[in-house]
């Protein structure tokens, strides 16, 4: 297999992954999409979910949870700008549950629309993270 995709996963704090892979599956806003070499150029937003990295054609080598962000795809490259990224097997369920509880309380206490939105987003992120961890 000659052609590969240069996959990069970047968070504001650091460059998390940068490697040549056969395929990545990214949870796009309007549905998951797989990126193979020579994919059409695409910019998409990413919903909270799991990025699957296929190092070899048919085996998932890595699964990484991302809490939303953006993806840029070109024929050679797939770059994901994530707000938060955790490998699935490293998700701390207790911490996530605690954060979910906190966020729900925040939502109940929130007085203005802005902080309510912040809390809602946090809830969505943590719920997605827990759902992923359960599988």
């Amino acid at each position: 297999m000659a052609e590969q995709v240069a996959f990069e996963l970047v968070s504001p704090e650091e460059l998390l992954v940068s490697e040549e892979v056969a395929m990545v599956v990214v949870p796009g806003e309007e549905g998951d999409f797989g990126v193979l070499p020579r994919h059409a150029p695409l910019i998409s937003s990413v919903r909270p979910g799991v990025i699957s990295v296929y190092k070899e054609r048919h085996t998932v080598s890595e699964r990484i949870f991302v809490a939303g962000g953006f993806a840029e795809v070109t024929p050679e490259r797939c770059t994901v700008l994530a707000e938060l990224a955790v490998p699935v097997d490293k998700i701390d369920r207790a911490a996530a549950e605690q954060k979910l509880k906190d966020a729900r309380e925040d939502l109940a206490d929130a007085k203005d629309e802005v902080s309510r939105n912040v809390a809602r987003r946090e809830i969505a992120t943590q719920e997605a993270m827990l759902k992923v961890a359960e599988r």
């Binding site: 704090e13 460059l15 998409s44 937003s45 070109t74 700008l81 802005v114």
Partner: protein
């Protein structure tokens, strides 16, 4: 000529000062390294964000009714000046040079008849701006970079700016911070944040050029992505400024403390010389007294 005891005390106190400054220098050096690493680690994200936004923004720039972050509010009457400085002093001209540039900008805008509002990020900037522009300071954020700049903090500031923009409190936002070049050189930088200023293409690397010529598909709509991307970019830019500022601060402090340590060393040297000379003079004087007393007998 000062007495021997005073001289001894003086030397002792300068030595103590030197110990403090050299300790501060070493602390600053250690912090600088960490801040630099952090700044470098954040660079890929900002770069890619810029690349993505660049291609999007170019296509959407002149569309009427676009997001305020991109096309502005249509006026430039009220300027918001965000001054990012350190919370602490003893770092050479670091804070003053940022404030000096900001002040010049403020004065210029005022003379053009614009209204200016100031948001201070960092205590020292507020302290210095308060003297002349106390009424214009909207708020001061302190301890933003403590223990180190975090993206959440930057995001908070970004959201704050957005709220103010939505409430129509300003039209144009400009950020002042010091870009880190090296430990001895920090460059005060003025950056227009709102509306988003697209940097001119400067014939960068070949790969980037071809990338910007690609026609992208958008999912969801261009406008929707832009709407999400722009606030994000604002926070990223702020985060980057905070990181650069932190690195610059430690660099400036390191240099300042290095100078202070060296100056203290020079001072100790010259004080020691005076001390020894005085001591010798006293001995000689005593000898002369004894000898001349003996001769007189």
């Amino acid at each position: 000529m000062s007495g021997l005891k005073e001289l001894r005390n003086r030397i002792g106190s300068v030595k103590n000062t030197q110990k403090i400054t050299s300790a501060m220098k070493m602390v600053a050096a250690a912090k600088l390294r960490r801040a630099q690493e952090q700044a470098e680690a954040s660079r890929p994200y900002a770069e890619r964000m810029e690349r993505m936004l660049g291609s999007l923004a170019a296509a959407n720039r002149n569309k009427p009714g676009g997001p305020k972050l991109l096309s502005g509010t249509g006026s430039d009457q009220v300027h918001l000046v965000v001054v990012a400085t350190a919370d602490r002093g003893l770092c050479g001209a670091f804070n003053s040079s940022i404030v000096r540039d900001a002040r010049r900008f403020i004065d210029q805008k005022l003379s053009e008849g614009k209204e200016v509002k100031i948001l201070c990020v960092g205590r020292k900037g507020r302290d210095q701006l308060r003297r002349m522009h106390s009424k214009r300071i909207v708020d001061t954020l302190e301890d933003v970079s403590k223990p180190r700049p975090s993206f959440e903090k930057a995001d908070e500031i970004g959201r704050r700016l957005l709220e103010m923009l939505e409430a129509g409190e300003f039209d144009v936002a400009t950020l002042f911070y010091a870009r880190f070049k090296s430990a001895i050189s920090q460059i005060v930088t003025r950056q227009q944040m709102i509306p988003f200023a697209i940097e001119e293409e400067q014939g960068e690397k070949g790969a980037d050029e071809t990338a910007s010529k690609l026609v992208y598909d958008y999912e969801p709509e261009q406008e929707e992505i832009l709407r999400q991307l722009l606030p994000r970019n604002l926070s990223v830019q702020l985060y980057r400024a905070l990181l650069e500022n932190a690195a610059s601060e430690h660099g400036a402090r390191m240099t300042a403390m290095d100078n202070a340590t060296r100056n203290a060393g020079d001072m100790i040297k010259s004080l020691n010389r005076v001390y020894n000379r005085t001591r010798q003079a006293a001995i000689t004087k005593e000898l002369i007294e004894i000898i001349s007393a003996k001769e007189a007998m």
